[in-house]
Structure formats: C-alpha cells, structure tokens
Subunit: 500 residues, 2 copies
C-alpha cells in the first residue's frame, strides 16, 4: 500500500534560547530605554544605529572556518561567498563604523547605541541567545576624563531610573595595575606566549563575586571542580604568584585614597603600574571634584572584566540591594553594566591606535531589577487596556464604530469589538484586554437614546466584596446609563476615578 | 625567499545592501515611530516583539535545501542541525506567535509590532537588505469591520504625521473579485494547476502603477521586455481573457458607490464575486458612517497586492503629492504601506483556519516622504548639539567638568571636551557637534571670576555678514563674559534666543 503524504505542518515554536516580549514588558523596557537615552543625550552623546550583521572578519575574533562556522556567533555565507555574522555586541560594529568614517567624525566621537545582539551559546534560565544592550562610547581620546565621565554617567543613569544612592556602586580598576602585579609575580603580561595564561587569570578574577577568594585561588592554580562535577582548567600559577595576585584583588578599602595607597605598595614599582596608578588617581580627582564620592564610585582591584581587549580603566556598575526575582528567590542583582578602555579595536582596521572607552548596560538584567524594585510597574509608562464598545446587534456596527471613534476623538483609548461572538465572549474579551470599562447599547438603551457604561474595575472590586451571587446580579452594580451625547464625558469620568 | 606573513587587516566596510543610521535620521525615525505607535494604541492595539530569527519551516515558503539555503532569506543552521532564518516580514512571526499562544490570547488578538526585517535580495538605490516595518494586525475574526478599521487607522496615522487630506489615499479592493473575474475568463482560480498563472496575473496587475495598462497587458499575455532588455515572462492569457482582466482593473471611479456598481456588472455573477462585493459594500458602509469619504478611502480594483496569501480585502496607502527626493528628482512617493486579509497563515500550524487581517507600513519610504514634506526636520524631535565646555588648561579639567555638570543640572545638554587637542581643534569639534555655544575660562577670566560664552549660531550669522576679516576678529562678536555663578542662566538665555 502506498503511503499517503500528509501535508507538512510545522510546529509553532520559538527557536531555543529566544523569547517573545508582551506588551507589559515592552512598555516597561521602552520607558527604561527612553530614560537612559535622555541622560546620555544630556551628557552630549548622540545616537547611532548599525545593521544587525557585519562581515565576519570585521567583527574579528570569531572568523569562521569551514568546519565550525558558528563559534559563539551566528554566521552565514553571502551569495558571493563572504561570511556574515550577527553582531555579538555593539562595540565591534562601532569600531568598524569609526574606522570607515574616521575623517568625517568629530573627534572625540561620542555615541550611544541600543539594540539586540546575538550569541550562539547554550541558553539557560535567564540566558537568551538574543538580548538587548545599551552602550555609550567615547572614541579618539586617551584622556581618562572620558572614563571618569562614563562612571558618572552610569551612576547618574541608575539614580535617574530610581535606584537610590547606596543601592548601587560603580567599581573601578585599571588593567595596567593587574599587568604590573603579574610582572611582579614574574610573568611578563605582554609576552605573546603568556597571552592565554593572562586571559585565564583575568577570567578567574572576574569570578570573584560568584566564587569568593577560595574559588579564585583554585582557578589561579590547578583548576576547580564545581558542584555539578565540571572541571575548569586553572591558570597554573605557583603558590607565591597566587598570593601576589590575591593580595592585589583584595586590596580594596572603603575610601578611594586608602585603596590607592595600598595599590601603590603592590604595583607601584614598575612603569606599567605607575601609569595605571596615575590614571586611577586622575579619575579619583575628577570624580571627587564632581561630587561623586566612594559611596557611588569605589576603587576595587577585584574588578577586572573578563574580556581580553581592555587596556586601561575598567568599570562595573553593580546593584547592592537584595530583591525578589521573578522566581520568588531573594538575591542580589549584581552587575547591570560595565566597560572600560580598549585602545586596540579600531587599530585592527586602521593600523594606527585609536584610543576608546565605553560602558555597556545589560538591559534585561537592569529591567528585572527595576521591576523587582517596583520602579517599572506593568502599567508604568504605558496605558491600561482600551475601553471596549460591545456589539449588541450585528446590524448596527456602524453605530458602535462611531462610538469608538467619538471616544478616541476625546483622547480615550477605545475600540469596537471586531469579533463575531456573543455578549458573554465579548465581556470575557474586555476582561482579558484589561479594559477599564465597556460601552453597551442594546435595543432598550437605543430606544431611550442612551448608552450604558459598565465600570469593570469598580465591578471587580464590588464582586470581591459581595458574597451573594443573586444579590450581585440583580443589583447590576458599577453600571449606569447616560444620554448618547454624554458618552465621552461619562467614560472620562470613570477613567479619572480610577486614576486618582 | 620565504614570504613574510603580514598581519591580516580587515577592511572597514558595511555588508552590501546595509546601512548605518546617524543621529538626525534616527531621531526623525524615533519621532515618527512614536507617533504611529500612539495612534495604534488609541485604536486598542498592543505592542508585541518577536525575535529576529525563527525556525525556517515556521516562516514557511522559503524552506532551504542543501544547495540553495538562501532563497530570499538569510538562513543558517543551528548546532542541532535545524535551520534558522532571519524574519523577512513581521506577519510570519505573528502567525507563529498566535498559533503557539492561541489559548491564552484575547480573541480577536490585536497587536502592533515594529522592527527590522531582512531580505536576501539584490540591493539597489534605496533598496536595502535590512529595513524597518510597522505592522498592525487583528487575528481571529472574519468580520470586515476589522479591515475597515485598518483603513481608517492608516488614514488617521498619515494625517497625524502631518500629511494633509488630499495628499494621500487608501485604495481598497477584494481578492475575491479578482478570482470571480478569472472564473469569468474561464480560469478556475482555485485549481492547483492554475496557481502559478494566477500569481503571475496578480504580479502583473500589481505593476499597474509603474507600467500603466499597456505594460500590464503585455505581462498578462506573452511577456514584456523592459528598456534594459530584460524579459519578464507573461501569464499567457488569451486576448479576450486579457480584456476581461483589464476591464476589471480599470473599473475604479471617483465615488465608492459608482465603483461598486461597475464591479457588480463585472464580477457579480458568481458566488465568489458576490461574496467579495458584499465585503466591499460592508466596508464602504462602515467607512461612510465613520466619515471616511472617497477622498480618503477609495475602491480601486487595480489594487491587488503582489503576495499570494491574501484571501479577501486588500488595501494600499499611497501618497499622491509630488516632492523632491534625496537625489533632487521630483516624483510621487507612491505606496507607503499596504495589507489585507490572510486567512491561511495561522492554519499552516494549527490545521484550522484562523482569519486575520493586517496593515504594514514601509518605514523608510514614509520617512523619506515626511522629510521631503518638511514634517520631520533634522532637528525635529531631537536636540541641537550639546553646549561644549572647552579645556583651556589641562590641569584644570576638574573645574571644567564641574561647569558641564552645572549646566546639565540646569537641564542643558552639555559636555566638557574630553580630547587632548588645543583651542583650534576644540572649536572645530564644537562646530562639528553643532554646539549652540561654547564655554571658555582661560587664565584671565579665572582671575576675574568670570566665564566667557561664545554664541556659535549668532557667530556664524555675523560671520556671513561681515566681510572684513580683521574687523571680525577684533570685534569678537557674539561672545560675552559673565560671573561664574551666572553661567547656567546665561547659557539658558543664549539657547532661548535661538529657540524663539
């Protein structure tokens, strides 16, 4: 018997690690992004947008080969054989943009950019393969005033979003100091053959927050096995080298001056160390002069950032309060953004060094924190559902349509029900849409030249109070009739009542 | 001799068919998108966001095979071997979303969505491989009130954006009428074997605007050779069939009633035709009752839309005025959006038909038109450049930083120059940033406890007037000094002067 071919019916599912965003989340995100943009504009940054993908070689680092075209990024071949990749951050496209437009740009060039980035990595809880970043960068100056400014910008942005002083801290450090400490431990940080070990040290320190000093100690040495049994290879430093590095990362004190003194002892011998100290001291002076004390910006040698390309100051914005997450567990939100100086990225294209520094916000993490704080409620910045005009008589939809128009003309969010179901389904629809009220005109009302307005918010409140169902139904509470020409005014009253 | 390996230096270039958006264009776009969203919200639509890519089979139509994985879309293989594609519109992801979340959605489901889409096609002037769409859809009802509403929404959106009544028209038609006309010409529009011919007819009529009746006549027959010599295969209809189709597409009159009568003659015989006529008549009645006359929404049988999946009403929003484009040439902008009813898209997943209708705006085209109309000036909705505090003495940047902060605290967009160049370069920088003024405090001013404000806008104006260079320099026009503590007030005065 020949098999009958069934029509192919694809499954309706999201690619793994991706998500849809509904209206509450989108509105909250919109409000948040607009606030960030407003602060960045005040600081003189200008918006820029670059496309979702770039030539893979322009993104660097991830050049695909025939066997593994997708190492960390999503890559595909153009019809002319050139490889393209979805951007994995907003910094690499900025470097391409700056290199391509250098001559016509104001120098320094200051831009902000927000948008999705993509990572071809294993997704996990709260770890998506598409997520949004919000970056500000200053390109074309080695003046650490630009770095200090980004730290102030980070602090001011968090405060403008409603995070109280004391509930966050911007931690700063300088890569040159770490290099000096490595030199002191007998490892030349600039030698090609030490590059991998240096990166392993960076990544080990970057986990300080999560694993504590003991965990970092293992990662600086032979390696570490986590609870799941997975083993992470260590940097294989000798015990005295580990001690030197750990002394450095724990040298942070409350005051910036105090920390600077401690660092002087640990890293002040070499030229590299002195350069790093001078940069930190300059940033400290600028921050102090601008009134940004150590309650807002702290020097913390434990902050190094995991990325290879930073060359000087690095910073991390961290939320220090505890709050309930989406899963109900209480925890610190931790880092919501970070950045630093990267003097080599544009040089990849131009050959000459173009110093640059930037700060990047992880939008979802920050949004989750603000939501937990109640600073971005579902309704905040958005609208409640629309007022719904019910269709009581299919022959009269032109009349109902006119009522919806009349409400909209009065500035009220309103729609006529455009489905084909009965009264019960329409009420259910209005509920699902979070409609504040519905407008009803059946035969009776029409004969009297009236419309009925049912206040759904008041109705829900009363319904919770009144136990007796019959009493409830007979009383028809929270609904009233008005003459047709008073519709808009009456709905406006209902909305105003609930806004108060 | 062994070749020396040079370091690989990638070229800083955009992938072909892609573009960067600078701040003027981005601000104008932001203003425009916010206005559209505001109107859509008033009509009761809610925002939704879906990821940039979907499983290729969920997007449908473009299922890649091993040899040509990129037919019209950008596709790549996930690590588990499944194919992914960047979305080529916002409708296919909506269908996936609705099918996946059907049970929990309000019905009908009304959403709007904006974002980039990608097409793997040959780029050309004004034709990019990434562009932005803005869609509104109502899913889950076959009531043409939903279609009529989208036409009103389109008209109201264009007017809210500043396009005068009379400068645009929304043209509507119904696919069922075209099917009835094909039946009348002896072609069964629903027969599988005629699918390709029917699509060729659709695409031929869709070019009416560009090629005129004669061009369409060729495309309905043997085919057409354009000026470049390229030949497009025709639908191979017989002369009398062509006549029948052309009579239909030219049946549009000024008034909607008149057009409906003409269509009654041409397509009223069959069941399909009568169904289409009834839908159009219902839309006409709703539009008339809502005050949308034929100056805003016209019935035009020449509008069919090129896409295969429309099943009932189709609509197209067109700008009818002429304006100068970016290239200086005067032309009509034509279609800036369109849509229609597509009852089969969700059925691909669910098996059961879920009727739907939508309207999509081509954002760049509309933005170009609004810019040409002067409705979205470069400055509009955005800010002028920041006020720049010059660095006259590198030792005193903490003081300059404080001045910039003071200005920001007063609500003024301001920055300290963070580069390392001299006065001349700093002035050039301020010019490039379109700074309205610069703030200067050299040794002299400091000794007097004063700051100097140089009004760059007034300066540019005077410089155009004054011919004698020496007189100009000596007069130091458009600059004045104030006591330090009057800085913010004085800058605010300068800004207010230019705003008036």
């Amino acid at each position: 018997m020949a098999k009958k071919r069934k029509p192919h019916r694809p499954k309706a599912r999201l690619p793994k690690g991706m998500r849809d965003l509904g209206h509450d989340e989108l509105r909250a995100m919109g409000t948040m992004l607009a606030t960030i943009a407003r602060v960045y504009e005040t600081y003189g940054f200008e918006p820029l947008d670059t496309p979702a993908f770039e030539y893979t070689d322009a993104l660097g680092k991830f050049l695909p080969d025939e066997d593994r075209p997708n190492e960390g990024v999503f890559s595909f071949e153009d019809e002319d054989g050139q490889w393209l990749s979805l951007r994995y951050d907003l910094t690499a496209p900025l470097a391409r943009y700056v290199a391509a437009n250098w001559d016509s740009l104001p120098k320094p060039f200051r831009r902000y950019q927000t948008g999705p980035v993509w990572r071809n990595e294993k997704p996990g809880p709260g770890r998506f393969r598409q997520f949004t970043q919000f970056d500000a960068d200053t390109v074309g100056t080695d003046n650490v005033a630009a770095d200090a400014e980004l730290c102030m910008l980070a602090a001011e942005t968090l405060e403008t979003l409603g995070i109280a002083r004391g509930d966050y801290v911007v931690r700063i450090n300088n890569r040159k100091l770490l290099d000096a400490v490595l030199e002191r431990a007998g490892i030349d940080p600039f030698a090609e053959e030490n590059a991998r070990q240096r990166l392993t040290v960076l990544r080990a320190i970057d986990k300080l927050d999560r694993l504590g000093l003991e965990g970092v100690e293992h990662l600086l040495g032979e390696g570490r096995r986590d609870e799941s049994g997975d083993f992470t290879e260590g940097a294989r430093l000798a015990p005295d080298q580990i001690e030197t590095v750990l002394a450095f990362v724990s040298a942070g004190a409350e005051g910036r001056g105090e920390t600077l003194e401690a660092l002087e002892q640990l890293a002040g011998e070499s030229e590299t160390g002195r350069a790093g100290l001078e940069e930190l001291a300059n940033m400290d002076a600028l921050l102090s002069a601008a009134g940004f004390g150590p309650d807002r910006v702290r020097i913390d040698p434990g902050v190094v950032r995991g990325l290879d390309y930073y060359t000087g100051p690095v910073f991390e914005a961290e939320l220090t309060f505890e709050a309930e997450g989406e899963d109900g567990a209480v925890r610190r939100f931790g880092s919501v953004g970070g950045g630093g100086r990267y003097d080599g990225l544009v040089a990849r294209f131009k050959g000459t060094v173009v110093p640059a520094t930037g700060f990047s916000i992880g939008v979802s993490r920050l949004q989750a924190a603000l939501t937990a704080l109640g600073k971005l409620g579902a309704g905040e910045g958005g609208a409640a559902g629309p007022c719904v005009v019910l269709v009581m008589d299919g022959e009269r939809i032109a009349d109902y349509q006119r009522m919806a128009m009349e409400l909209r003309a009065a500035g009220i969010r309103a729609e006529m029900y455009v489905g084909s179901s009965g009264m019960r389904a329409q009420m259910k629809y209005a509920d699902k849409r979070a409609a504040p009220c519905v407008v009803i005109q059946g035969e009776e009302e029409r004969a009297r030249g009236e419309v009925t307005i049912k206040d759904l918010i008041e109705g829900a409140r009363l319904s919770a109070e009144i136990a007796d169902n019959r009493e409830w139904r007979e009383g028809r509470p929270a609904q009233f009739s008005v003459p047709e020409d008073e519709l808009a005014a009456a709905v406006r009253d209902v909305l105003a009542r609930h806004r108060a």
